[in-house]
Amino acid sequence: MTGSKKRLGIKTILSTISEESFHVEIKKSLRGAVAVISGVMGIGEYTEDSILLLSHSGRMTVVGESLGISVLEERTVEIYGRITEVRLGYGKS
């Protein structure tokens, strides 16, 4: 597992999806959920309902409602909104 060393609280729904270059932490928030994803190389698609994140060796699609994105340092992004599904894809982007 690589990426962020951020630690979340005990009440956090911590979901770590282990993939070669992704690290994801998801926790509840007032707006639904917040997903912090590191190792992002680019954004393939950005709408209110889905965001496609690209990495060196794959892709990740975050599906939900009223999604928003903040770009943080060290190739990390934060996606907030009512996240309902996280899909992983493999292969070179």
Binding site: V40, G42, I43, E45, G68, S70, V71, E73, R75, V77
Partner: protein, 387 residues
């Protein structure tokens, strides 16, 4: 919404076409710029990164950027408002200068010395209103004030904000009275009595135990007869005798009392923690024949928790003199209390051997009399005049 960091160091708002949003996000990731992008294409960017972003994204996507916002934007927009800039600089300068000066000197602990005399002395040693705190050494001022004033025994200068709190302790003026010691003297009786005990340190005992003496009788003589003739000395010793005294007290039927005649509101204060605000204050002079009654109203929550807020009300209660007629029981009680006080005061150095008390009502009130039999020291020194 801009973060605190962006507000302080400046930021810009931008808008991008929805189709370019993935590219915009990728550019932010590539350049390492922290930003927030909403689904409708609005984003914010720190002012420090705006130049780098514009240079890189200029030919790649279509976007618009606002003027600088936040604190730097405020100054950039107001850079031609010279009055505002001058006022801000002036406020900063005044604040900086005034916070370094002594604004008030408060003196406490003085009883006989006036505040003004101490403030004058402090000014002479370098501490006064307007003095710079940077040039003030509290320890040096304390030492110099102690050197300058003999009537101050201890002083402490403490700075709190812009106020100098000076606490002093005055020197006690103790004068020792020189009591002349006579060369030749007798010990004589200062009241009538029956001698119970006599101890002679120097001189000759003129009485013995059981003798009845009158006031002025010689108890220990300073005239000593020897084989070589008469010599004089200072008679010293202790003579205890049993004596009798009458103590009488009259409790009058009518007495003067102070009766409350008028009540008026003196002040109303609102107190929050230790800060108080005068809402109303009556400046009339009510110091004579007047009491101040203070009423404090605290506020509590339903659970009994006391709030740090209270309302203080003060009332002047003025008194006028009136005549009060006491009952027999009140007169008796008052007379007994006064008699007891007088006996305890007058015979505090004596051993009371017997006490007989009688009382009677008379036209003026109630008179109570005690015959006190007591034992005490009755000798006093009387100088011998030798020609």
């Amino acid at each position: 919404m801009a973060s605190l960091n962006e507000l302080v160091f400046g930021y810009r708002k931008g808008k991008v076409e929805p189709k370019d949003m993935p590219k915009l996000t990728s550019i932010f990731l590539k350049l390492g710029i922290t930003s927030s992008i909403t689904p409708d294409g609005l984003f914010t960017i720190p002012e420090k990164d705006s130049g780098r972003f514009t240079a890189y994204a200029g030919g790649r996507i279509r976007f618009t950027l606002s003027e600088p916002l936040g604190v730097p934007g405020f100054f950039i927009r107001g850079r031609k408002r010279y009055g505002l800039i001058f006022a801000l600089i002036l406020i900063c300068v005044i604040y900086f200068l005034s916070s370094g000066l002594v604004w008030d000197v408060r003196v406490s602990g003085n009883e006989t010395l006036s505040d003004q005399s101490i403030i004058d002395s402090l000014e002479q040693v370098g501490l006064g209103v307007g003095t710079s705190w940077r040039e003030t050494d509290n320890s040096a001022i304390e030492n110099e004030l102690l050197m300058a004033r003999n009537d101050i025994a201890w002083v402490s200068v403490v700075r709190r904000g812009t106020v100098a709190y000076v606490r002093i302790i005055e020197t006690e003026n103790v004068t020792y009275e020189q009591v002349p010691v006579p060369s030749y003297s007798n010990v004589i009786a200062d009241r009538d009595g029956v001698i119970e005990e006599i101890t002679v340190k120097s001189g000759v005992a003129a009485v013995k135990v059981g003798d009845v003496v009158r006031e002025g009788d010689v108890l220990i003589s300073g005239v000593v007869e020897t084989e070589r003739g008469v010599i004089f000395c200072r008679a010293e010793g202790c003579v205890r005798a049993k004596a009798v005294a009458d103590v009488s007290v009259l409790a009058t039927r009518e007495i003067k009392i102070n009766e409350p005649s008028d009540t008026s509101l003196a002040y109303v204060r609102a107190v929050l923690f230790k800060f108080s605000i005068n809402i109303f204050k009556n400046y009339r002079n009510h110091e004579n024949n007047c009491d101040i009654i203070e009423e404090i109203r605290n506020f509590t929550l339903f659970g009994g928790y006391k709030l740090p807020f209270k309302l203080e009300k003060g009332y002047y209660i003025e008194y006028s003199e009136a005549t009060y007629t006491r009952t027999e029981e009140e007169m008796t009680k008052a007379a007994r209390m006064e008699l007891e006080t007088r006996i305890n005061t007058e015979f505090r150095d004596a051993d009371i051997l017997k006490l007989r008390t009688t009382g009677e009502f008379c036209n003026d009130g109630y008179r109570i009399t005690s015959r006190v039999v007591y034992a005490t020291e009755i000798g006093k020194e009387s100088v011998i005049e030798v020609n």
